[in-house]
């Protein structure tokens, strides 16, 4: 399982994501770049250039034609994945952080950070079938919570939105009325990542309070908890096995003060049910900021503070033992 090291970013990675088919990989980072890679061999297929601020998150349409990105330059942009051109730009007065297409891609949600006089907000937009008809009109603006909103998910057949934020809370919003339907303090510190299971029944959170939690989407009940010795920045679930992958590591600011070994920069595999760590993947030399499984579960990718992305394809024996672990 020799990984491909993808060196396309000069600054820390923010997110790594596969497309729905699993043949493409998109990475974005603090160097305001978005890169597109072939997932089977790690060759760069292209980039989306134009943002002039840190790109926090990206999302893709199901057919991998349009890419949505949210960036610190106070814009969210739609890109053509076929030729890399910018299709549309949503402008805000605040940095944009999380973005997500609804199921069916008729809507998109973008979160903006608290900035100057404005509080954090989730903004909903209609996404036109033809980019030429795209309007910047905000159809709904959800506000209320303190702290930045780090991730968004459409749930319950596009009727509700889940948000995770830096106050450690996960909230459910009604997209019709804009009301907060439920909220739960899942973590003591900020929730850095929230990834949905393939069937949408549960999700996994990652927090700097050094835990990662498996949560029931319906009830917000914590089903399982995974503990690490260092802050966790990202967590993903294998689509085929009961495996959980977490990535994190000692805060970048404190790295130089301790020995390299104390950093916990390995990507760690946990058994989803037994909550026990069973494997590690070394290689990064700074905290991992984002992890993702490919949709077919045959590979995983990690992106770290040092700017490297490591794309791992599992060996054949992983699939033999995977079930038994």
């Amino acid at each position: 399982m020799r990984p491909y090291v993808l060196q396309g970013h000069t600054r820390p990675l923010n997110q790594v994501v596969f497309n729905a088919e699993g043949d493409l990989l998109v990475t974005c980072g603090k160097d305001s770049k978005i890169n597109l890679w072939w997932a089977d061999n790690g060759v760069r297929a292209g980039s989306f250039d134009g943002h002039n601020g840190v790109v926090w998150t990206v999302d893709m349409t199901y057919d991998s034609k349009v890419l949505l990105s949210a960036a610190g330059d106070s814009s969210a942009r739609l890109w053509s994945m076929e030729d890399g051109s910018e299709l549309f730009r949503f402008r805000f007065n605040e940095p944009a952080r999380a973005c997500r297409f609804s199921v069916g891609e008729k809507l998109a949600a973008v979160s903006t950070d608290p900035f100057m006089n404005s509080v954090s907000a989730i903004r909903l937009f209609n996404i036109a079938a033809d980019p030429a008809d795209q309007s910047a009109e905000e159809i709904l603006n959800l506000t209320g919570p303190r702290g930045r909103i780090t991730r968004l998910h459409w749930t319950d057949q596009n009727r509700t939105l889940l948000s995770s934020s830096e106050d450690g809370m996960v909230r459910r919003w009604d997209v019709e009325t804009g009301k907060c339907l439920a909220e739960k303090q899942l973590h003591e510190k900020q929730v850095m990542d929230m990834q949905m299971s393939t069937d949408g029944t549960h999700f996994i959170t990652a927090s700097t309070d050094r835990t990662s939690k498996l949560v029931d989407t319906q009830t917000f009940e914590v089903l399982k908890e995974y503990k690490s010795a260092a802050p966790i920045n990202s967590a993903a679930m294998s689509p085929i096995f009961d495996h959980v992958l977490i990535g994190g590591g000692q805060d970048a600011a404190a790295v130089t003060t301790t020995a390299a070994k104390a950093g916990y920069f390995e990507a760690r595999f946990f058994h989803k049910v037994f909550q026990e760590e069973f494997a590690q993947a070394r290689g990064h030399f700074s905290p991992i900021n984002s992890v993702a499984f490919s949709p077919d579960g045959t590979s995983f990718v990690t992106g770290a503070e040092e700017g490297n992305v490591r794309l791992h394809h599992f060996d054949a024996d992983y699939f033999q033992i995977g079930d038994r672990i």
Binding site: V103, G104, N158, D199, G200, T201, L223, A229, F274, D296
Partner: protein
Amino acid sequence: MANVTLTAEEQHMFEGQPRGFPFGDFDLEDVMLPENDDMGIASDTDDDAQEEDVQAESGFANVLVVDNLPAVPPEKYEKLTAILTKIFSGPGRIREGGLFHPQDDSTKMSKGYAFVEYENAEQAKAALAALNGYQLDKAHKFAATLYDECDRIAKVPEEYAEPEDRHYTPGENLLDWLSDKRGRDQFVARYGDETEVCWNDAPKQQEESVYKRSFWTEAFVEWSPSGGVLATVHRQGVALWGGKSFGRLQRVGHPGVQRLLFSPCESYMLTFSEFPDNRGRPHFVAHVWEVRTGKRLRTFDGPHDEYAVGALARPDRGMRWPTFRWSGGVGGAPVFLAHMKKNAISVYEAPEMVMLDKKSVKLENIEDWEWSPNAADNTLVAYQAEQGNLPARVALVHLPGREELRQKNLFSVAGIKMTWHPEGDYLAVQVDKWTKTKKSTTTNFELFSIREKDIPIDMLELPNKSEKILQFAWEPRGSRFALLHGEGTRPSVSIYNMKDTKSSSGARGVVLLHTMTNKQCTSLHWSPSGRFLLLAGLGGGHNGVLEFWDTEEMTLLSAGEHFMAQEVQWDPTGRYVATIVNAAAAMENGFQIWSFSGQALYKTSHDRFFQLLWRPRPPSLLSGEKQREIVKNLRKYSKRYEEEDEALLAQADTEFLAERERQLSEWRQWVESRQAVAEAADAFARAQLGERFRSHEEFVVTEVEVSVVLDVKEEAVKH
């Protein structure tokens, strides 16, 4: 609400205040707070009333009743009252009109008692002490009582009621933990706000909680020397706990207690605190307690400099701990508590705690001293510094007889360090001597063999005499010792034997067994049962590297690492050893348990880990002979235990598997219960995506060959 418009200046003035509030013109007195809501501001008038209440109690705390006064006719009344006023105002000031000296209405004779009201309760108490039993004349001896007491006395029933028989309820067996069927050991761990006593269940590779309590202590906990009780230290004093349920056995009051010292027999305890007095000088208080009754036997209390002498003096004029040291109480030996003072050691014998033979043990110019750890010996070693023409001296003194067993004179001494063998069999004196130029020092060792006739002394010099000695460690229950010496981060470890095992007689003679150079080691830790030596590189720059050595075979059993480890603690049997990362380190807090041979057994992490202490065991009741016999026939006994262990492991395995099976089925049930939701979501996605939807099964990989014409060039071909 009225619309208030503010000028720009005013707006600036009230910046940050809630809008719409007329800060411009309002009077604090006008503010009406909601009823029954103090807005978090406590009223000071309420408080005053309460305080007064407290002072008053019944209101008569300052009133004294004095009986047994002479009964006098009216003509003498004035005179007697004047005399009484004078007597009563001696110990305190009587309130105005506070003396009530009643007369009988019919006979006009004084009634023979009086009520005296003093200015406050303290004065009344002082007067009680002074006036009770005051002999006025031959016939009249005052009987004074506080008025509040009178009430109580009046309530005493006329008839004597037999007190109920108090049944003796036997306390819990304090040695209960020793009867564990599997012979496990306990330890106490303190982390976060929790204090927890656990079994070390090494075969199952986990700890098993015995008793856990939050906020059990405010400072630290400590086992007694034989593990009978656990002492928890609080702001108000020390509490002692024990038995199976860890109930409270005893508590003693010592505000601000900082340190704790048990006598080896666990019968007595010394508590110690040290604080700067109002002039900023350190001031200490030490109480000696009887553990079983909680009775205070004696209190030692400054002046400080009397105790802080020689090596025990700190630069800030305080004293180094332990200033007081216990000995004895084992094998019929008397229990002594001793401390050093100028030119002498004072020894007190428990439980009376009076100075032995009413005088200190005279030792001119004493610098440092140490009891033999073998409590039955009652022997101490004292180092007397050079003085004028008198050489420095190391002397062994036996108590209570004060006879000097052995002494050694030393010259040009720069410093001395005394290390007793844990059984008191040997004593090592490390002597740093000035070279002739007095610019540097060389080191040698004087080794006393206590158990041999006349206590012979061997001198040992290292090949390099000027090398720095980092640690000297005796092998418990053996005759070997290990030395950590050398400069820099990679010192050497040398192991010596006090008996020459090669010669047939096993005669005495210091033999170098082995030297290991270039070791990443900062401290040496012998197993309590001897033979096994753990070399540990603790603290910064060493990362907790560990080496487990067998000094019998002189082989490295195994090497390990507990990253960031700061402490090493062997269990009392020498079977297991714990390495600890405490809260001094920012991360990795917790402990790891190893077998004596260096096999990592299990690791437990706790945030803010403070303390791990193995529960000590009392000395074995078997005779030395019997113990040797068991060791000899170990195979015979061990078979049974091995079988037990295996059965246990098999059982643990099945338990473990059952638990996993349960977790797995629970998870599957949960997934099942969410099936409908998942299906609905899937159907919705299909409907939304329409023809774009492709499930992974429909996904087909096709190889496409693409040929692109890059360049076309015409060339003439010659035939």
